[in-house]
Assembly symmetry: C2
Homo-oligomer: 189 residues x 2
């Protein structure tokens, strides 16, 4: 049983059950007859930095779900750059740290395309954040949901699309801000 194969099996279990298996369960997963074999393997996984034990000796995934962050990539001209860093970003942690009062929406249309929000993207909206000038907001204008820039001046609030082909929106009736867009997630394929 290689470390690689073991960590994959733990990963699969964690995704399905949202917890790590006990040593007895690992016996089944790994095909061992003795918990000692699991015990040794787990210690290797800890040494490899994939798992860790907290102060109470309880097991938890450490790097099991972290995505190695290789550095900064130039999207403009390729420029002489430093070697890719060996850092790692924990998206797991990032997502779990989102505030409590959030919801997500699937974007349809292209009025925010110049902001880099495409059709099909998922936007995550914080309900209770107070919108600042220039924030991307999900708003309900005259009973329809839309996603636009939030603008406020002494004339009042209006909504601006990032795509200049679309007009500004000056809400005639009621304007309800559903929340401020705090994250955009796009999945290719």
């Amino acid at each position: 049983m290689t470390i690689e194969s073991a960590s994959n099996k733990l990963k699969k279990f964690f995704i399905q059950q949202r917890r790590l298996p006990s040593y007895a369960e690992m016996c089944i997963i790994f095909g061992f007859a003795s918990k000692k074999a699991v015990f040794d393997l787990v210690n290797k996984l800890i040494e490899a930095g994939l798992l860790e034990k907290d102060s109470k000796g309880k097991l938890s995934p450490k790097r099991l779900f972290s995505i190695p962050q290789l550095g900064i990539i130039k999207a403009g001209y390729p420029t002489p750059g430093e070697a890719l860093a060996d850092d790692s970003v924990d998206l797991y942690e990032y997502l779990l740290n989102l505030p409590g009062a959030i919801f997500s929406l699937i974007v349809k249309g292209d009025s925010m395309i110049e902001e880099g929000i495409n059709e099909g993207d998922v936007v995550i909206v914080d309900k209770y954040r107070t919108p600042q000038n220039g924030d991307v907001v999900a708003a309900c204008v005259d009973n329809e949901w839309t996603i636009k820039y939030y603008r406020k001046n002494n004339a009042g609030v209006h909504l601006v699309p990032a795509n200049p082909n679309y007009p500004l929106i000056f809400p005639k009736g009621d304007l309800m801000i559903g929340g401020v867009v705090i994250s955009v997630i796009r999945k290719y394929h």
Copy 2:
């Protein structure tokens, strides 16, 4: 102790420890002196659909980290639309189901801005996916990393930026495709 407050405390614990606390630990977290009080509260959380017990009676988070998906938002003109759905997307699950051989990069520059990839965005790259024509790829051209469209014709492979202000790249030397961009994550603020 309200369900709301309890689930927030569990959430906080899970984010820090990547596991649910035991009933004894919950006593401390919730401020109870008896595990029975915890037992009752956990049952309420299960009834509320926030936690669940698997076939072995082990506790795991259910909706604790799911983000309610309220539906589809029009980013173009506000159009008469259906009421927002009461579905829910589990980003937690989405992230955990990413393939194994991935890494992430922070984007610098604006050559992919028309694809909706902005400076500061995090792109997630699958190392081993075979790039198709039109895929966004992270490539190492003449020893520099860059992110571009992948184009292949009978003349060979070249890289195309989404921003027309930048030139096509015909690799003189070696071209190494670091991988295919499978996801883009942007965080505002």
